[in-house]
Symmetry: C2
Subunit: 216 residues, 2 copies
Amino acid sequence: MNTQADPSKEELILRAAGDVFLEKGLSGARMQEIADRAGINKTLLHYYFRTKKNIYARILGKVFSAFFSQIEEAFGDGSSFAAVLRQFIDRLLDLLAANPRVPLFLMQELAQGGTIARDILVKTLAHQRMTLPKRLVALIRQEQQAGHLGPVDPIQFMITVLGSCIYFFAAEPIVREVLASIQPGKPFDREAFLAQRRQSIFDVLYYGLKKREQSP
Amino acid sequence: MNTQADPSKEELILRAAGDVFLEKGLSGARMQEIADRAGINKTLLHYYFRTKKNIYARILGKVFSAFFSQIEEAFGDGSSFAAVLRQFIDRLLDLLAANPRVPLFLMQELAQGGTIARDILVKTLAHQRMTLPKRLVALIRQEQQAGHLGPVDPIQFMITVLGSCIYFFAAEPIVREVLASIQPGKPFDREAFLAQRRQSIFDVLYYGLKKREQSP
DNA sequence: AAATGGTTTAACCATATGGTCAATTTTACC
DNA sequence: GGTAAAATTGACCATATGGTTAAACCATTT
């Protein structure tokens, strides 16, 4: 009957493959597991995509473009720099909370040095024309010239923002374990922690960038 | 003759295995490649360590304890908080520059959720008693009570420091590609970039933590 | 030099895994 | 209903891979 437009097999495969590749990486993923999770026969994977690497490349492409375009959208239209920064941090953290495995997956893939990932990254960057970093850098430069912000290099600042937001999600198990060893017995409240993290990142980075006087 | 104390086969294996596992992860590494890089027969791997997982666990243990103990040492004895923070950032960046693949390796392993890594992490933390985080947190609290630092949560601040330092190394290929797309044609000078990074992190984070007045 | 015990190797094994094939089922169209 | 094309499947294949075995090698002791 199919009144409710259930997803095509191709779509089922891509979803399952996304899950498995995100969890285990290219070499750790098994075609059989993808097939099982998609609820189909393994041969269908090859029927639709020929090879494992093809599926992987598709996933990589989807993840890349989805993630980057969502980051683009995270660049709000607030008036003040403070508002833009806050919105950017908030939306980036939301995006990360919804896709906690993505950063590690992308980093790991790129570090492996495979050409697949690099090609896709280059294509994605070319396609999206990276308006976000340029706009952010431009905005910071502008505020600096207006005398509102200190002389910190905008690109370095951007990397610090990204690192501050992303690190927790990439290293969550380590962070948790270390926290537990610092505060034994205290359970980890992820929601509260992320809310606090949000505020803390903004506080430190905003005031770190604001204009000041002396330097030790 | 062997006058010059060349490394034992076991040592050769561990070195080669370290390289291969750091590059490719557990599932991506091949026993044959480890043997080849060590310049020995594959059977010797099993003779000394029985299984692949055993070798992997040894590497994981070495990397963990070496890395954590070196981070401990990075906690200098400077007088002012500014000096301690600067020294910590400097030494952490040095350590990362010397072992750029370690963070991603550890993160990836922990995220995979294997018990090997978690066990070793717990043991390492218990063994080293994590003096560093505790000391750093204590120092920040102390300075806050003395009225020198703002009310930012010390643990959150610590994560921000780590993220700011580590992110670049974990995501270097992405960062480079994005930079190239922002500044086409300009070659990437890694040395200069890292020197600038060092200064920028300190500037932003130190002034971000310092006491201030208003809050938007 | 024979014996002993640790080390090293080539050949081999069992299984896992990506991928193919032929046959069957389903769908679309007449 | 019949037919052709697309979709789907179970059986199968070739290779890669972690691991084992038995024999050879080598150093040390007696």
